[in-house]
Symmetry: C2
Subunit: 349 residues, 2 copies
């Protein structure tokens, strides 16, 4: 299988994020990509550079004002007096503000809050370049799937917490959502997104909430105890035309292979019933029992079985890297997942 990768993605080097009242070293570090890349080499995957990100593909999910903000934020921030090296929000436009006259301000600190959800997505030198390159990898992967094949986007920063005009949870551009939109644009009439990162894919849910042409399925740790906190419950099923096309499978903390794979199987069943013509997988490894976040307890064998069962869908598939932060295991988890996926998927190139 082909993997799309651009070393520009290493230029995003977030330093800190706020956890329980303290600034701590960021987990979404360049070394993650290097560990995953080493696994791809071991698997003898074909490593390809993507074409530059297609503007229409970015705009299919994101707003042009948000893209402009992200492109220029780091340089503008570095010109602020008394500012840290990377932009972090310190206030957000809460619903009460928007219900009583609130609007986007001219000043950069206010704009950083306008375009972010939380304290986990600092914007520094290289953030835009890396996010754009990750998007390019995801779009290239979707183009392979649009041609009937499978491919993997070694995408970093990840994307599934990003909304149309908002970064959040280590994510800036929603790579999986752009891949799904690209598959639609290239002719697949029904596209499914299966998100097995341990965090709810709230951004992807938000992007497709009112759409019936993209089925979103997410398997994740209980949001009552875990980021993104406010979304990810089973009764969130979409709205309007999209009602019934959003499926959340939250799992209790500590869930191991059996519970996790049963949820993935339920998602796969829904994807079959939906009649998906193409699949996007948001592939995170943070459900591993070896993860520092420690919400779920999936083994390496569990990831191998997930790869096999998803492969058995035999759909053209764009696999998009999301989270996974234990540098000692994510490479071997990718190896296990990909080997099994390729073994069962007849669509494999």
């Amino acid at each position: 299988m082909r993997v799309f990768w651009d070393p520009v993605q290493l230029s995003h080097t977030p330093r800190f994020f706020l956890v329980r009242g303290q600034l701590r070293p960021h987990l979404e570090v360049p070394a993650r990509a290097e560990a995953l890349l080493a696994a791809c080499r071991e698997l003898r995957m074909e490593i390809a550079a993507p074409s530059p990100a297609d503007t229409d593909a970015l705009l299919a999910v994101h707003t042009s004002d948000y893209l402009d903000f992200l492109r220029h934020a780091a340089a503008a921030w570095s010109a602020l007096a008394d500012a840290a090296e990377e932009a972090l929000p310190n206030t957000h436009p809460v619903p009460e503000m928007l219900a009583s006259g609130g609007r986007m301000p001219e000043g950069l600190p206010g704009r950083v809050g306008w375009y972010t959800t939380d304290l986990a997505c600092p914007i520094g030198a290289g953030t835009w370049e890396a996010a754009e390159a990750a998007a390019a990898c995801a779009i290239a992967t979707a183009d392979v799937a649009a041609g009937g094949g499978n491919a993997y986007a070694l995408a970093r920063p990840p994307g599934h917490h990003a909304y149309a005009a908002r970064a959040g949870g280590h994510c800036y551009l929603n790579n999986a959502a752009m891949a799904a939109a690209r598959l639609r644009a290239k002719g697949a009439s029904r596209v499914a997104v299966l998100d097995i990162d341990s965090h709810h894919g709230n951004g992807t849910q938000g992007v497709f909430w009112r759409r019936a042409d993209v089925l979103f399925v997410s398997v994740h740790g209980d949001p009552n105890r875990y980021y993104p906190w406010y979304t990810g419950h089973a009764d969130e099923r979409g709205a309007g035309a999209g009602e019934g096309f959003n499926m959340n499978l939250p799992l209790p903390f500590g869930t191991g292979d059996d519970g996790w794979l049963a949820a993935i199987r339920a998602g796969i069943k829904a994807i079959r019933q939906f009649g998906a013509e193409a699949l996007v997988v948001s592939l995170g490894f943070d459900a591993s029992r070896d993860e520092p976040l420690n919400a779920l307890a999936v083994s390496a064998e569990g990831f191998a079985r997930a790869g096999a069962e998803i492969g058995e869908l035999r759909l053209p598939t764009a696999i998009i890297q999301e989270g996974g932060y234990n540098l000692a295991v994510i490479g071997s988890l990718l190896t296990r997942f990909m080997s099994s996926f390729c073994d069962t998927s007849t669509a494999a190139v």
Copy 2:
């Protein structure tokens, strides 16, 4: 004039807030109250302890679930593993989440974000007790005004950035809004709130946005460059029944006495036209040219003139302390404001 003060307010000792990506020492410190109290003593004001905060008066502005949260948050936070001493949010329920199934989570870190706007209002041991005592001072002050007199609430933490169910900008309970609601409950048919803190009183605006019985007037620094960033523009005039009963007078950075007093005069004119029967003043000193925040450039004489002109309204008045962070000047600014106010207000007790 009587000043209401409860030393319990000193028990709120916030350590840090996030400014431009860095955790910095908090500005809203107990020593502020001590500096203002010394000025009250110098003015020979009668210092009185308030009655405990009336539950109905709290509930006239705030929701019971929010009050429960604030009351118990610090103790619950201290039981979290790996947490800082005081609760700070790291994510918020942004509009996209609420539009795609979002709800309040069970877990405390998510609840802290649910009930806050920003990183400027840490919740620690003593925060609830101090906020409740500040509210009691504001309510007691309103009760004096309801009897035709004037009084001053030495309220800390301040209140004007707090919404019905959300803390923000050093504020937890909206003291001025509770005072205005108390005046309404005690029979004043029309109440005006004049907010001369250098920051827009976004919480108070939000509380009364759809109400015609409370006129809100705020004179403040341009929100395009300044907290609360998203609100405070002149064209925010209220909605529904409240349309036309919200008046914002934003001023360019660097505005001095003339511009500031002209805006206050415009507000006073609107209060007269409204036919207010009682007045609440949100009194901040951060418009001072000596303030660390440095948005406006008002002199001590400017504050004296503001006191005189507001006193000339000759309305029963509840003066509620809001911001002001230069410990070297806030006491003398209070002295100048209060002396002039008392000289001109015939309603003075």
